[in-house]
Symmetry: C2
Subunit: 206 residues, 2 copies
DNA sequence: GTCTATAAGAAGATAGAC
DNA sequence: GTCTATCTTCTTATAGAC
């Protein structure tokens, strides 16, 4: 494996566990299987490694955002997906989303690292809010707005519905990030939440 | 002011901004207005300062929990408060709670420090979940259950209702923790959320 | 590109005077 | 209880051989 890439991988793992300030370059080197001074042939400083991780993070994020916009700016592809949305399908989507973000290695480490470093500068604060608040809400709000137009859901403020749909899912995910043992409990609550949300906001036409 | 107490105060401020590993004892001393070696007459190590903060945190938390149980285990005091609960009063309560936790200096710093350090050991993970997930949900679930019994709210799963009420409020608070400039926007959303929640779950008897 | 040796400085903590 | 001086260790980073 490419050493330069592996350094980022190991560093991200360590940063997501301990935070930047509690990780020493020697530990990163050890994880890669080289000595600390060798790191400096690939990156010019510890900060440079951190920045490279952020760059990769932003790149993936922009890619993801672009993908979503392509499929979702007018909610064409998704409109097909959710044309016959049922409670069970909503549950499946909710659990699928939850499980992906909870178990995908990169997503998980990025999220934990950002969580730890979110107050260390303005840029990171904004990145965090973009990724875990504004973008998911924008996307889900659009989707819900579409479902309302289709008469699948009650006429109501889609932005707030998105908040009420997303916030519990996100909160349950943070519980699992801290206490993985509670995953089953959280999944049960997640399913109940989605079903209740679906029932509460279900259009009157069915 | 008591130096021993002031050390904790300054340390908490710094830890909540940068995290334990990125704060140096010299910085704490500077904030207190003494030199670093003098700290060691009050605490035997940097870790000892951190532990003292945690002890204080736990003490306050236990006190708070005890208070809530005294008033809230059978929801007597609160039942009086919410006997004639209206949408406006629910909004007032939501915004009051939100503003208190957002602006109370101790609450705010404790929360940020715990956010940064939540993955550093199991005890902190549990403390975080207790404070910002399990306890609020337990309390609000009890309250909502009471309101349901009174016919003020629809018959439904009170635990999930509590999750759907609390999670958006908590999420909006984390946005403000990161980006204080967004407080007005978050307050607007908070109010809309509470009103919509109240409307959605309002009992059919009125 | 990786290593050993090492510089340079920072950071936590102690000793002992006042 | 606070200070200056100092110790020790850790940590980042560089130099230069292979």
């Amino acid at each position: 494996m490419d050493t330069k890439k592996k350094i980022l991988d190991v560093a991200l793992t360590l940063f997501s566990e301990k935070g930047y300030g509690n990780v020493y370059v020697g530990q990163i080197a050890e994880g890669v299987g080289i000595k600390a001074p060798s790191l400096y042939k690939h990156y010019k400083s510890k900060q440079d490694i951190f920045n490279a991780i952020l760059d990769e993070m932003r790149e993936r994020y922009n890619q993801k955002a672009a993908d979503l916009n392509m499929n979702g700016s007018d909610y064409l592809a998704d409109s097909e997906l959710y044309k016959n949305v049922s409670e069970d399908e909503l549950v499946k989507m909710g659990i699928g989303l939850f499980s992906f973000f909870l178990h995908d290695e990169y997503e998980c480490k990025f999220r934990k690292m950002l969580t730890i470093e979110q107050f260390s500068d303005r840029e990171l604060s904004k990145l965090f809010s973009d990724q875990y608040f504004d973008e998911p809400l924008k996307y889900q709000s659009g989707l819900l707005h579409f479902l309302i137009m289709q008469g699948k859901m009650k006429e109501d403020d889609a932005d707030i519905m998105a908040l009420q749909f997303f916030a519990p899912i996100y909160l349950l995910m943070t519980v699992c990030d801290r206490q993985p043992k509670r995953e089953k409990e959280c999944l049960r609550k997640l399913e109940k939440h989605v079903r209740q949300f679906s029932r509460i906001y279900k259009g009157d036409d069915k």
